[in-house]
């Protein structure tokens, strides 16, 4: 049932996770598991709905807000778990079910990005050492992959918009970067890089804002080069209860539905940041795959939940 190519992809998938876990272990990260079934309180778009006995539940889109609870006690945590998005999207870039490598720890975003790039460096080094022959199946040389080294280049959102405008893209400051824009930027580089400090208008409400320029968030996307685009994202979280209350007001989030988290924040939450890397996105770049569906054995796409 699996082709030779699929076998090679799955070999890279397994080794990639092995490398990630080795790095987590060596660096003192604690493995945790958040829930997959989460309460469906507001009517959130993009979530899969589950019939949960006489209630309804959603399928999780990541470890937040549970990460904050873990981090308060364990300082540096990670999870590797399936994640779900009920979005119609290109099968080139989107799966409805994908696996996330997710990290949270007590530090600011700059420090977090150092860990994030160190993890990706370690994964690339490990792949080139452990399975150089498998990399060759995808026209990747172990030597080139071994050249992925920290620190990764960093581009601010402001710089990215300037660069895109100079290259003829019709983009205004404050807009979300489209996939075509990400692709264009990532074609200019040969290794992974960050785009940092996205404007508040493109981000979710629980991102901390930049103290120096409140219209920006402390956020950073990790992009793969060669036109592959975003593979991960990271943010520093709001940990001040009053700031969070105010944000919820602005975004019309019912605080009653987040009461346990707000109660938790009031006295227990510590400053922390987190990142998530999409496993299949990372594989897509590693194996130079046109369609992300190829990165997993039994892919789930909007049109396909079979076999």
């Amino acid at each position: 049932m699996f082709s030779e190519k699929k076998m090679a992809i799955l070999t890279i998938r397994a080794e990639l996770l092995n490398a990630a876990r080795c790095w987590f272990k060596k660096n003192g990260y604690f493995e945790v598991h958040g829930p997959t079934l989460i309460p469906a309180v507001d009517n959130w778009p993009g979530y899969f709905e589950v019939r949960y006995f006489d209630k309804k539940a959603y399928l999780s889109q990541g470890l937040q807000p549970y990460a904050a609870v873990f981090v308060a006690k364990f300082r540096k945590i990670y999870t590797v778990a399936p994640t779900f998005r009920a979005e119609m999207g290109s099968t080139k870039r989107h799966l409805t079910e994908y696996w996330r490598i997710e990290v949270a720890q007590r530090c600011d975003l700059d420090k977090l990005m150092e860990f994030e790039e160190a993890l990706v460096e370690h994964i690339c080094q490990s792949l080139s050492k452990q399975i150089p022959e498998t990399l060759k199946c995808f026209q990747r040389s172990a030597e080139n992959f071994a050249k992925v080294k920290t620190p990764f280049p960093k581009l601010t959102y402001d710089e990215a918009v300037d660069s895109l405008q100079n290259d003829g893209f019709n983009v205004n400051w404050g807009q979300k970067l489209t996939w075509e824009m990400e692709k264009h930027l990532s074609l200019k580089l040969t290794g992974p890089f960050f785009i940092t400090k996205f404007p508040m208008s493109t981000e979710t409400f629980f991102n901390k804002s930049d103290p120096e320029r409140p219209e920006l968030t402390l956020s950073a996307d990790l992009l793969a080069p060669e036109g592959y685009g975003e593979i991960g994202s990271s943010i520093q979280r709001i940990t001040d209860r009053n700031v969070m209350s105010q944000k919820m007001d602005e975004e019309n989030v019912d605080p009653e539905h987040q009461r346990w988290y707000m109660n938790f924040m009031s006295n227990k939450s510590r400053p922390h940041s987190g990142f998530a890397i999409g496993l299949e996105r990372l594989i897509q770049w590693t194996c130079k795959l046109t369609h992300i569906e190829e990165a997993t054995a039994f892919p789930r796409t909007p049109s396909n939940v079979y076999p």
Copy 2:
């Protein structure tokens, strides 16, 4: 938010998985991921239903039948993944969302049980070596846990029924053993043990039958001692397409709904067996927990999907 006890439980949880993965690595098992979202073709009881765009899907209850496809190519595979059961049950023993350590490999059941018990032995040895102080939080001495050694005692289903009848239980051959019966049997032992060769009447249709006594299946449950009962189950799979077709007939399973798998079986399936261990069940025994909810950070039970 987490008590000292919960911190100790989560520490054991993380170390237990670390020990399992070390054992898998040392023994050449290949890590795979099956889908969580599976097609909802027949009307299966006990499955959570997901609204999948304009279709419906179910949440997975394990790696079958995907395990068979992986095993055909990779020989010895494992996965660690969340699993879902839409069943009302005692919060002492049942979660609606739990994590499974699942293995499949090309061998018969007797050989598989050797690997299963070796894994559990390795986990117990690792816990006693790596986190003896954490074990003490649960009145477990590292010395006693280090005494968990293979081979584990094996009791046939026939012997289990005889023993229960002798002890005054009202049980007939062919009945499923209840939780009270399991508990009674497991109170007699000080270490994990197997109950083997359950009758066809208590098992699912894809279990291979015993060539010597076709009314029995090649199956084995792994039980924890001290009254904790079942923590894992293992079976040898049917790999003959004609036998499977006949079984599906008997069980009124629509073969059309399993066509991809039947096509796959016709020429590619290799003899194989598999086992699954419930992570929270294993933790429940390790930490002497009354309620299985305690074995995870954010438990999901029939009445609770919050926070």
